[in-house]
Amino acid sequence: MTMAATETPEPKTETASAATPAAKPEDAPPPRRASWGRRLMRDRAAVAALGTLAIICLAALFAPLLATHDPYVNTRSVMTPPAWQTGGDIAYLLGTDGQGRDIFSRLLYGARLTLLIGLISVGLGGFVGSMIGLLSAFYPKIDAWLMRFMDMLLSFPAILLGLALVAVMGQGAVPVIIALAISSVPDCARIARGIASGVMKMEFIEAGRAVGLSDAALFRRYLLRNCISSIMIFISLRFGQVILIGAALSFLGLGARPPLAELGMMASQGRDFLLFAPHIAVIPSVAIFVIVLAANVAGDALRDVLDPRLQT
């Protein structure tokens, strides 16, 4: 019986075979889990995406050290093209904007704010959403109510919430963060509930109940721990989308306010100089594109490796 089991290859282990050349029949661990890191590393696009994200995050984190100029101070060299173009100045690596501010330095600070807005809103919305989802899987009594409420929230698209909140609170990063967080809640709640209701059907939950664990312990130690990785993957998949919506709101002039630098806002400031100095708008736009692309590719790869169930 055991021999037969080792000879039939598991359907999902095509790439794991190298890691476990000869699985021993007596203590065959699930090989899929053991080697996910290695499988991720074999996906070259994923490695490139993760590397890019890491570099961008580090650059944003250490913006004050890396910036060659003060990002908020105007200079006389207005609309200098990037250094590699004719008329470029090596002192201004990516050129200067319409007010003579160094684009490279502004890019670092702008990426900082853009990433921060994305992280806070995904973190906040993901946390609240997954708690709602987990609770509604854990307590079937409140399930229908919570999910109805989530359906209602779902009928307010993020951009609408953003517009409404900015209309009420005035322009700024805070209403944008709140809107993005709220609009992440229903999606995360639905996914978390789906994952958690699968876990709730497992025998160990019943076993935990049978030995008399409190609800809190059961929730924290049994349910939460078994769901958390899948939920985290889904939340990471949202990151790119949230950054895009946030940047769009900033581009419209509804996000962070001018003395600060934000990538979407920088692109909209470059709009007026599109014909004479396209780099002012193009560079921050490309930066957003690279961040979101890297986040999407990395998120997709993580999902494929860690949790193929979530695949759409």
Binding site: R148, D151, M152, S155, F156, P157, A158, I159, L160, L163, A164, V166, A167, V168, M169, G170, Q171, G240, L244, I245, A247, A248, F251, L252, G253, L254, G264, A267, S268, R271, L274, L275, P278, A281, V282, S285, V286, I288, F289, V292, L293, A295, N296, V297, D300, Q311, T312
Partner: protein, 312 residues
């Protein structure tokens, strides 16, 4: 069939009430005294007081809410705080261009996305598949304003000399059509990626099913297997996806309208928010929310028309 539609209509009533409540709270939450905002900062105190009584602001909040609901159902959205025109008139003028833009973008991007997704699924794993998937991941990650700015720069100014400011008149006129090209192209560009991705996974799913194998075994041509037996069934989830993308498209429309000075609701709402014209902002946000509910309703009905299993 009819009962599905009725069910769905009944379900949207609470959402509708939620939207209206949301619109009411919007104006309640605006900082400062609405009467003072309407009267302007230099108005005498007794004028403000008279206006407060006229606007019903001295009434208890529930009475105000009731009056608000009455006005909503009679289609009275008040007057613009800036131009003093009827809000309904401003909205009526803007709604046509927005619908026009959305239809024009969908008419090319959805068929293209479906074609790309089907091709990728049929040639799964090939270079064609990878190229199409790479394009669509890139498409999902592109900031909409970047697409718009590139369209203005290259197609509008450098290469084709297409108009990129405003609407050129009715669609059937030569000028109207020319003005429509760039906005429709930019907005559609963000829709191709998601549609292609969804179609691909949906077609892959369907091609695995028994009836497709039967069709192949019957000796049908590959073309008819894929188009008649595969794609037709695969399109059902794609229709739902388009409903889900409506919010995303809405956000894209707001940005696109702003870039191309397209006289639609999106530009109206951004302008209203930036100039603190709360009544217009409220009206436009309500119209957007209603439009979003209507799109989802239509998608659900379409879904039941396409999928005989849902009809019961």
């Amino acid at each position: 069939m009819i009962s599905t539609i009725i069910d769905r209509l009944l379900l949207s009533i609470p959402v509708l009430l939620g939207v209206l409540l949301f619109g009411f709270l919007l104006l309640q939450l605006v900082p400062g005294d609405p009467a003072r905002v309407v009267a302007g900062p230099s108005a005498a105190p007794d004028v403000v007081e008279a206006l407060r009584v006229q606007m019903g602001l001295d009434q208890p909040i529930l009475v105000q809410f009731w009056a608000y609901m009455e006005r909503m159902f009679t289609g009275d959205l008040g007057r613009s705080m800036i131009s003093n025109k009827e809000v309904t008139a401003e909205l009526a003028a803007a709604i046509g261009p927005t619908v026009e833009l959305m239809l024009a973008c969908m008419i090319w991007s959805i068929p293209l996305g479906i074609a790309m997704g089907t091709m990728a699924a049929v040639k799964r794993g090939s270079i064609v598949d990878r190229a199409i998937m790479a394009i669509s991941v890139a498409g999902v990650s592109l900031p909409i304003f970047f697409v718009g700015l590139l369209a203005v720069q290259y197609l509008g100014v450098l290469w084709l000399n297409l108009p990129f400011i405003g609407r050129g008149g009715p669609l059937w006129s030569y000028d109207g059509l020319r003005h429509m090209i760039l906005p429709a192209l930019s907005l559609g560009a963000i829709l191709v990626g998601p549609v292609a991705r969804m179609t691909r996974s949906s077609v892959l799913e369907v091609l695995k099913l028994d009836h497709v194998r039967t069709a192949r075994a019957k000796g049908l041509s590959e073309r008819s297997v894929i188009l008649r037996h595969g794609l037709r069934n695969a399109l059902i989830p794609v229709v739902t996806l388009i409903g889900l993308q409506a919010g995303y498209l809405l956000g894209g429309a707001v940005v696109t309208e702003t870039i191309f000075s397209w006289p639609g609701i999106g530009r109206l709402v951004v302008g209203a928010i930036l100039s603190s014209d709360f009544t217009v902002a409220q009206g436009a946000i309500l119209v957007f929310a209603l439009g979003f509910i209507a799109i989802n309703l239509i998608v659900d009905v379409l879904y039941s028309l396409l999928d005989p299993r849902v009809r019961k």
